[in-house]
Symmetry: C2
Subunit: 395 residues, 2 copies
């Protein structure tokens, strides 16, 4: 497989990203946006055609004079996404415009270790290749459920990923696929997915809060992921709610994650079921032998007051932490995502209520707090956005 061509300068990079985000465009339309002279634009586009990144696509409707020719990204372009979660793998293939051409998903325990999980991910990609979706690969983006050294492409002491610490994920997959690869935290790629094709599409500065088994936050500053000086930014699950809370896996007490998130919610639900405080949860326990965060959502939907109370209390604590982050960061949007986000509007109402009450008016005057609309696909779209930003930048 030959190496992917890259744009030679920032004008070419800009044109590629425009064609990725806006689809096929006439030369006249592109000229309006990039502010290059007609001859310079023609030179850059011709070069992109030579590099097989762009191709002609007929003539545009007339704007009054000679009809302008349309160009589009090469339909042979392919990006690959691996979204590795705590308990699942999602693999997808997109075209250059990041439209999903194929998407497979299966349960997989990340604790099986890097080699086993990545082998499984490559097997899933093989399925998509067998369907003819992958004539070439121009880049792959990978999300993993833990902290990542983005520069090195390795997980760093990831708490729920035994056997992955400093495993060279990026280099192993790059070697395997023969294309550029980037690795990032799963919450960061979800944020990029929302930026690309979700509710954050026109927002430069926003937070994506993922409430799954754990709780994390993707931070977007000026249209790009902010990772902090050592890649640890957004690790909000261990922010203190108060001093007297439950013991957290991190060794401190009163962390947000020890109060809320999938694991804490399941723990509280199991206690409520065993104590007979919730008939709904007790019945679910009797039927299945356990209760999960999803059962709490079902119980709340059925009007179970204990479950509703758990969601309200959890939402209030999430709101307390987010109120502080809003005071500090003054984002333009907060998106709530992840499994627990399925608790839906009861959770959202509580989060909003606390943030709007506790954060300064200047910061909340125009601050939507919404649920993700992309759901499961945010991660894979974000992973291809990540790698396409890289491939569509000067080498």
């Amino acid at each position: 497989m030959r190496m992917t061509a890259r744009p030679e300068n920032r004008h070419q990079a800009r044109l590629l990203r425009l064609l990725r985000d806006e689809g096929p465009r006439s030369r006249a339309e592109l000229g309006d946006v990039v502010r290059l002279s007609r001859s310079k634009l023609a030179t850059e586009l011709d070069r992109l055609v030579e590099l097989r990144l762009v191709e002609p696509a007929g003539l545009a409707a007339s704007r009054g004079g000679r009809r302008s020719s349309v160009v589009r990204l090469s339909p042979r372009l392919r990006f690959v996404a691996f979204d590795i979660g705590a308990t699942s793998i999602d693999v997808a293939v997109t075209n250059g415009e990041l439209e999903i051409l194929g998407h497979v998903s299966e349960p997989c325990d990340v604790r099986l270790g890097a080699t086993a999980v990545l082998d499984r991910a490559l097997d899933l990609l093989g399925k998509l290749r067998d369907e003819g979706l992958l004539p070439e690969v121009h880049g792959a983006g990978i999300g993993v459920p833990g902290p990542v050294s983005f520069r090195e492409g390795v997980p760093v002491v990831p708490p729920i990923m035994p056997g992955w610490d400093r495993f060279p994920v990026r280099d192993v997959i790059a070697q395997e696929l023969g294309c550029p690869v980037l690795v990032d935290n799963d919450v960061n790629i979800m944020a990029l997915g929302e930026l690309h094709g979700g509710v954050a599409r026109s927002v430069g500065d926003f937070l994506l809060v993922k409430i799954g088994t754990g709780i994390g936050c993707g931070i977007v500053v000026d249209g790009a992921i902010y990772r902090g000086v050592s890649g640890g930014a957004g690790d909000i699950g261990h922010i203190r709610v108060d001093d007297d809370g439950p013991l957290c896996a991190c060794g401190n007490t009163g962390c947000l994650e020890a109060y809320f998130g999938g694991a804490a919610l399941a723990r509280d639900a199991l206690a409520a079921a065993r104590a007979g405080r919730s008939a709904f949860l007790a019945q679910r326990l009797a039927e299945t032998g356990t209760v999960t965060a999803a059962d709490v959502a079902d119980a709340a939907a059925a009007g179970d007051p204990v479950a509703v109370g758990m969601i309200r209390t959890g939402g209030r604590r999430v709101g307390q932490v987010l109120a502080g982050l809003v005071s500090f960061f003054n984002p333009g949007l907060i998106i709530i995502a992840g499994g627990v986000a399925r608790l839906g509007h009861a959770l959202l109402a509580e989060v909003r209520s606390v943030v709007y009450r506790r954060s300064p008016p200047l910061a909340t005057g125009n601050l939507p707090i919404v649920l993700s609309e992309l759901g499961e696909t945010a991660g894979v779209i974000g992973a291809t956005r990540l790698i396409s930003d890289h491939v569509f930048s000067p080498a």
Copy 2:
């Protein structure tokens, strides 16, 4: 006064900032840094000389061949800083390299209102002009103690600045001085001061926490101030410490500022003096009729256990809030500044202890937490850095 020249392109801007930050340099040295061809570099420098922004300054020592000529910023360049605090005005004049040529300061209550305070600031500038320090003015930076719409150059609903809401500070001063003017929050300009000439000089991502009468935070991302979508970023004084704390001026309970900061500390010190819990503070009350945050510092320095306890408790609460921000933002450095920072190492020790214990290891592995070394001059240096970044960028 004629309008200030501005660089015509980003190469010229880069050269001006290099000469500002590094001082006079030979053409050969500049060529090494900016990666322009010798002839292109000569063209850009000649143009800057024509614009009277740069001038020749003799020959450099030989590097083996022909001696390279040295250039420097025009010694006629002048930037002005107005650092308006709650209870003081600082006015300074610098050269193009942001070296302070003159600095005057006097007590002034910001509550006198915009017109009175700005008139006073201009009078102080007149003193410096009378000393011959101001042949021309090429730009002025202004810091004010409240939230600012940076784009519009106006304070926005500033809590401690009655009569300033949406007053056109930028435009009034620009009109008066006939030069470009920018207005920002006082904490942001302190952060820029530390970035330019303080402990943050080589740090791209850091926080400056000012603990004065109130508590605020300057956020630097990738070498530039992060202001948030509506200019409200860094307003950390009203982050919740707990639900059962004292009532805050903002109407909520348990805000950091209601626990700590100059005003809260003075309140607690007065209570301790009146109740006779601290002999030192009671004596100070008897002598002066009141006690202030500065008295707490004196008492602690004299070994008064009540004062030491107040600093420790306050430091712990500041640390709790900062620990959350470190988890979220993963900065490369935290600088503690402002009046209460004079409480010094007892405060710092407590803040460090909480942050290092409560934030994730990935975020604290290499996180210095230090006191400001610039002190009073951080604000004026930052104000001239702000405006010089603007003047030294393409028009």
